[in-house]
């Protein structure tokens, strides 16, 4: 394997022939073949060509990561192709340009391949009329209840109605009524009156999640989306159907009616619930996280994420979050203190610690930068380091058996071995024999591992940083409140070696500070090393130092990360 970092997971594909088309009069060259929903190269469609031309074609049923269904007709466009004479040669206009034969019928852009010289018209009065017509039909039986609909603000029906809808309905007949608030599964509620029957959810669960659970029953205007009666729509990916449902038919039980979407601040982040590292958007308002939604990254998670990861955010806002810096007095009482006092005292103690008398247990939920700073400390003291692994069942789509986001980073930086946790026994033994006197623990309750409460009692100094209270934090001589990933910036390295950064969405509670910030202070106090006061500087410094990350820069990671050899 080459030793240079790449942004691609696959080698570059051979060059693809380009063909010329015109979109609304502008000529452009587009590849003859483009990836379909599975990434297979197939003839480029009109909608893909329009996208390359930066022309928006309204659509409902089309989704780039799902098989094409072509059922909603919202993407109808007009088009023409070069006219051929009786001799099968192109007819040329007097001015030398090829004569275009305009098709008498429109075509659905999502399912019609382009051909050389094709002209696509998306802005003609005819196209506008078709869009208006399609929308009017879609709204015939729709309850028009946006004010009480949870999708409002991110609803394609609403958006296109603003563009192409009529302000008053011409439909005077009684509407067909369909089931409302159907309990489709443990995480999903369905409002059939809002469903526009685009079948995106059906295709997703069948073709992506591999659970053929949804279908459309009845006929004509009675068409109704449903799961089989008595069955429960419950796979680990059901909430993706809520994301791709273009309307408010499928809603998340967890998120619905919690917050209007236009109030949400959107922050680019990474899911921390397994080593896949799905790219996500954190939706927050006033320092509270309301939801995670997937963010497209074809090298990692395409447009999806699992329900397990999506719903694992409630702990961030827990009332018992650690929010105070605390120290134990010589009488063994715990008291509140300040960062300056605590960090100075810790530095003084560490400076006096003999070589080999310090051990560090880091959490595989920490960032690369934090590992690197801990490694600096470890190198200074010849400290034993390790981390703790968490494993569960994986699946074929995204969920990895490793339930931590950054074990790969911990290994590449040298905090743990490939066999995570293998040194924990050594650390335990060294404490037992009195060799290790100082233990630094980040984000782990080590009493659940080989370091039980009795062993912790033998230590001179127990320095603990965590987010939530546990048996280890209770025993800490110094307790340093840390941040959830959504409260700081940093990078994780996923199971495949993709280094991905995440941004800060909300403020940490109380005195809690990002671990990298106070670790930096500590490293400076203890070793005198400095020069990386910002996360950018810190990352770049680390990338120079850690062979696996050589050549990376914070800026170069972009939004979707860079894959390094692991």
């Amino acid at each position: 394997m080459s030793n240079t970092a790449t942004t691609e997971t696959k080698p570059a594909a051979p060059a693809i022939e380009k063909i010329k088309v015109k979109v609304d009069g502008r000529e452009l060259e587009v590849p003859k073949l483009m990836p379909d929903w599975q990434g297979k190269l197939v003839p480029t469609t009109m909608i893909q060509a329009c996208e390359l031309a930066k022309t928006d074609v309204p659509h409902y049923c089309y989704h780039p990561k799902l098989p094409v269904a072509g059922n909603c007709r919202m993407c109808l466009v007009e088009f023409g192709t070069p006219a051929l004479g009786p001799d099968r040669k192109p007819v040329i206009n007097p001015d030398g340009t090829p004569k275009i034969a305009k098709s008498p019928r429109p075509a659905i852009a999502c399912a019609t391949p382009i051909s050389p010289g094709m002209e696509i018209y998306t802005q003609t009065p005819g196209v506008k009329q078709m869009r208006e017509g399609v929308l009017e039909f879609l709204l015939i039986n729709h309850p028009l209840d946006c004010p009480i609909c949870d999708q409002a603000g991110e609803c394609k029906l609403q958006e296109y109605s603003v563009d192409y809808g009529q302000s008053a309905s011409r439909f005077v007949e009684p509407k067909v009524h369909k089931p409302k608030a159907v309990d489709l599964g443990p995480r999903i509620v369905l409002d059939d009156e809002r469903c526009i029957l685009c079948t995106r959810c059906i295709r997703f669960t069948k073709d992506i999640a591999g659970d053929d659970a949804l279908g459309i029953v009845n006929r004509g205007s009675y068409n109704t989306l449903t799961a089989y009666p008595g069955k429960v729509f419950d796979n680990n990916y059901t909430l993706n159907t809520v994301d791709i449902c273009p309307v408010g038919a499928l809603t998340s039980k967890d998120f619905r009616f919690q917050m209007r979407v236009w109030f949400l601040k959107e922050t680019k982040s990474i899911c921390t619930s397994c080593a896949t590292g799905c790219n996500i958007i954190v939706g927050s308002r006033e320092e509270k996280v309301y939801r995670y939604t997937p963010r497209e990254n074809d090298a990692v998670n395409a447009c999806w994420m699992c329900d397990h990861g999506r719903l694992n955010y409630k702990w961030i806002g827990r009332a018992d979050r650690l929010a105070e810096v605390r120290r134990q007095t010589s009488e063994g009482r715990s008291e509140k203190t300040t960062w300056t006092v605590a960090l100075n005292e810790i530095a003084e103690k560490l400076k006096k610690a003999p070589h080999g008398s310090v051990a560090i247990v880091a959490s595989a939920r920490q960032t690369n930068e934090e590992f690197w700073l801990l490694k600096k400390l470890a190198d200074k003291f010849g400290a034993l380091t390790d981390s703790i692994g968490y494993f569960g069942e994986g699946d074929k789509l995204l969920l990895n058996v490793d339930r931590t986001p950054n074990r790969t980073g911990a290994r590449l930086i040298g905090i743990c071995q490939a066999n995570v946790g293998i040194k924990m026994m050594v650390i335990a033994d060294s404490i037992k024999v009195g060799k290790v006197k100082t233990l630094i623990v980040f984000g782990e309750d080590v009493t659940k591992s080989s370091l039980d409460a009795e062993l912790l009692g033998k230590l001179d100094t127990l320095i603990v940083s965590d987010i939530l209270p546990n048996e280890t934090t209770k025993r800490a001589h110094y307790l340093l409140p840390g941040c959830a990933h959504v409260e700081k910036r940093g990078t994780f390295t996923n199971i495949k070696g993709r280094v991905q950064k995440f941004m800060k969405a909300v403020e940490a509670p109380g005195d809690a500070r990002p671990e990298w910030e106070f670790l930096h202070d500590l490293v400076y106090n203890v070793t005198g090393q400095d020069g990386f006061l910002t996360i950018e500087g810190l990352f770049n410094e680390m990338a120079k130092d850690v062979p696996a990350f050589n050549g990376l820069t914070w800026a170069g990671l972009g939004d979707t990360g860079v894959t390094v050899p692991t």
């Binding site: 509620v189 449903t226 089989y228 069955k231 619905r256």
Partner: protein
């Protein structure tokens, strides 16, 4: 989690206690499947075979078909609810189908339908097939029966009748024993 009110998935399918496919039906279905490149393609024919035997398609029948064709029950449920000729409940012994497409609508189809309903004590304005309490008759509208020149046109089970006057309707009913 929101505590807002939700409803279970509606279930229009009816139960049929003691549904069991006879050995003959199993054999028929196994043979039907051989006519198609994939098992799923046999679904409609299998449903017809079941309806032939039981007169209608129950929830048990849907699930049996799905197992037989290695499908999910939702796939079969979609079919059963799409085609009105696939019956989701037991029908009368005599099924009266009155055409309501254009020629018949103009030629007295609706009146004929109403006549049957009134005679048999059924609601002419309800949606879908109506069956008498004793289970003897089902009356329903159907689309064009391809006898447009002799409207109104109807069928009683497999027998086809053209130019059906109310008198003729009485005769047809009288012939149903």
């Amino acid at each position: 989690m929101s505590t807002a009110h939700t409803e279970p998935i509606p279930n229009p399918l009816q139960r049929q206690s003691g549904f069991a496919a006879s050995a003959a039906l199993e054999a028929e279905v196994d043979e039907l499947v051989t006519h198609y490149p994939v098992k799923r393609a046999a679904a409609l024919m299998v449903l017809h075979a079941i309806q032939e035997q039981f007169g209608w398609i129950s929830q048990e029948a849907v699930e049996w078909t799905a197992r037989k064709l290695e499908l999910q029950p939702i796939n079969v449920y979609e079919l059963v609810t799409f085609y009105p000729m696939l019956r989701q409940q037991p029908m009368g012994k005599y099924q009266i189908k009155v055409c309501r497409t254009l020629s018949c609508a103009l030629g007295g189809g609706c009146e004929l339908h109403q006549y049957f309903c009134e005679k048999l004590g059924l609601n002419a304005h309800a949606h879908g097939p109506q069956t008498t309490k004793d289970g003897k008759f089902t009356v329903e509208f159907v689309e064009c029966l391809a006898g447009c020149g002799t409207a109104p046109v109807m069928m009683c089970n497999d027998a086809f009748y053209e130019g059906v006057s109310h008198k003729k309707a009485d005769e047809i009913l009288g012939g149903c024993q």
